[in-house]
């Protein structure tokens, strides 16, 4: 019997690894053309992002933001919605967080301030995703196009609002520095080996979010409705799922997760709202969702990979002036191309290989 579909181990492990290797191969070629040694660069990258404890903590710090972004895109994908707007939702989430903190940080202790700020981030992110969700559900406007529009509207609105948040006498387009009560507890208090890395409790929250995501999507009736809508909206509707309601709620959850992505960097590291702070994390979330195949473990691993690229890339750029940090924006693009758009590039070859080995075994 010839197999026509790939076994699970192939789609879950072999294909993503092959795709990732292809992207890194192209990246290595470019680094070679820039006159640097790819193997030496990889060595520096692994050393600084994985093997060094402080570097690893930085990697996980970046990964915390990416996990939320990846979850935001993933949960929408489960319902068949392509939320390109995680970037804008995270940006507006940062605004919600900042407003909450600016209003209350001198009055409340951290134990109340931090959860309140998180609620602010989640609510604002959710509201920013609500309109595209509503328009998709009720008016049929494609969520891809509207979320792109909302990214730009968010960027422009923030350009304007941030001017109102600049404290008097300052030039930098940023809000005032938050009081200490709004600073997330850092993990290096417990583990001094992490050095100065701003790895904080939002990493733990991200792990919790991954678990909750896994349970809700695969073990709850709402998750079942969600996946049914994504697989076949007509069948789901026939089975009694309220499609437009599912779409709107999914977008709300997705936006809230993207908004929570703002917490890590704003309250864990910079401690003020700055212009363009998401810096493309929402788009990285798309790559993570695709590479991790919307599975909690996959999302975690790809988030760590992208975190390592940022952290290692930073150190690499210091040592190799020909490989600036922007090289890793290029590599991100390559990974999205190979792991997302061309995910089945190697599938026919592997299928053939499996069939050939099976027939030789039988013979």
């Amino acid at each position: 019997m010839k197999k026509t579909e790939l076994p699970r181990w192939a789609t879950a492990f072999v294909l993503p690894v092959l795709n990732l290797m292809s992207a890194l191969l192209v990246a290595a070629l470019v680094i070679h053309l820039l006159g640097e040694s790819p193997s030496e660069s990889l060595h520096i990258l692994v050393d600084s992002a994985i093997l060094d404890p402080e570097g690893l903590a930085y990697t996980l710090f970046y990964a915390s933001t990416f996990i939320f972004a990846g979850l935001a895109v993933s949960i929408a994908m489960q319902a068949g919605l392509f939320n390109i707007g995680a970037e804008g939702q995270m940006y507006i989430g940062g605004l919600g967080l900042t407003w909450a903190v600016l209003a209350l940080d001198t009055h409340l202790p951290g134990i109340l301030m931090i959860p309140l700020a998180m609620i602010g981030a989640a609510v604002f992110g959710a509201l920013w995703a609500f309109i595209p969700g509503y328009l998709q559900a009720k008016r049929g406007s494609h969520v891809v196009v509207t979320t792109i529009m909302f990214n730009f509207i968010a960027a422009n609105v923030m350009n304007w609002l941030i001017l109102k948040l600049i404290p008097e006498g300052q030039q930098n387009p940023a809000s005032r520095v938050f009081a200490d009560s709004a600073a997330l507890p850092l993990l290096n208090k417990v583990l001094p080996v992490l050095g100065d890395a701003p790895l904080n409790i939002s990493f733990i929250l991200a792990i919790v979010a991954l678990v909750v995501y896994g349970v809700v999507v695969w073990r709850s009736s709402w998750g079942y409705q969600l996946r049914a809508t994504g697989l076949n909206a007509h069948a789901a509707h026939y089975a009694g799922v309220k499609i437009s309601r599912t779409i709107i709620v999914t977008m709300l959850v997705s936006g809230a997760l993207a908004g929570l992505g703002a917490v890590n960097s704003v309250m864990g590291s910079t401690h003020y709202l700055s212009l363009n702070f998401p810096a493309g994390a929402g788009f990285v979330g798309i790559a993570i969702a695709l590479m991790g195949r919307q599975h909690p473990v996959g999302i975690f691993l790809s988030s760590v990979l992208f975190g390592a690229l940022i952290q290692g890339g930073f150190d690499l750029s210091l040592e190799k002036p020909n490989i600036p940090q922007e090289t890793f924006i290029f590599i991100q693009g390559l990974i999205i191309l190979f792991c997302g758009a061309m995910e089945n590039f190697y599938a026919p070859a592997i299928l053939k290989l499996i069939n050939v080995t099976r027939t030789t075994k039988e013979a």
Binding site: T146, I148, I153, I331, G333, L337, E343
Partner: protein, 321 residues
Amino acid sequence: MEDFHIASIIVSTIRNAPVLMFAALGGLFAERSGVVDIGLEGKILASAFASAAVAYATQNPWYGILAGMGVSVALAMVQAFVSITQKGNQLVCGIAINIAMSGLTFVLAQFFFQQGGRTPDLRNARLLDVILPGTAALDNIPVIGWLYGHVIGGQSVLVYVAFLLLPIVHWVVYHSRFGLRLRACGENPHAADAAGVSVERTRYLAMLVAGVLCSFSGAYLTLVQSGFFLRDMSAGAGYLALTALVFGNWRPLHTVLGCLMFGLFGAIQIQLEGVDLPVVGRLPGSLIQAIPYVVTVVVLAGLMAKSVAPKAIGKPFVKSR
């Protein structure tokens, strides 16, 4: 209201619009054939860099335009390969190209010129404005002199190309054999296939046209508008072109009108910066910049007009056996 010049608004609208028009009309071919082209932004940026770098190296803007075209077409072919042959996710492919090009153009600009991701000033390697004969003679006549010297004349060649494209694209899409096939592949590829049209070939051709047209946007940015390449200088122009396409309901004339309207917003925004208006007071420039997107969302919501995408858009064509 003294600082508010209608004349300079008209002129800068005409100069703003071509960046969007080339990309939007390019995207029109891709999307009418059924391939979503979110990668306009990346193609504009890549061709802007290639145009500037080659024009600087050769001191000849025409080689720059050719280089930009080559790069943009190459990217369009990557998209075509992924979307048509690989039947991969077209949106993801476009986003990947945009992100990759944002990084790569900076890295290359830094590698070759070491000026923090920009190219040196092009000076004489820029495309010069066309001065129509008799401009000097008419210059003293109030309205006609300005109209002839600064609106009809005094523009770069690429501006004329952009406006000439509209009738050409309209004719190709609605009155040529290729246009008929193009629209058939975008609306109902199975019917086109049954009628003997090669869907794959038509879509590849459409992507080729999209690549060529889009490259002019990039060339226009560097060779006409700025005179150098700057990192991420496309600044959302590709997405704005896509917005114009959605706003214009994937029809050439309406799309170009959308581009002109967005160009007008850009011109007004520069004029309004720091000007006190009656009634509303001082309008922040960043909010004016958001208007095109808000208007498009309103249109998409079906509140002003109905925007209907090509039916087969974004779906890979799988030939039925």
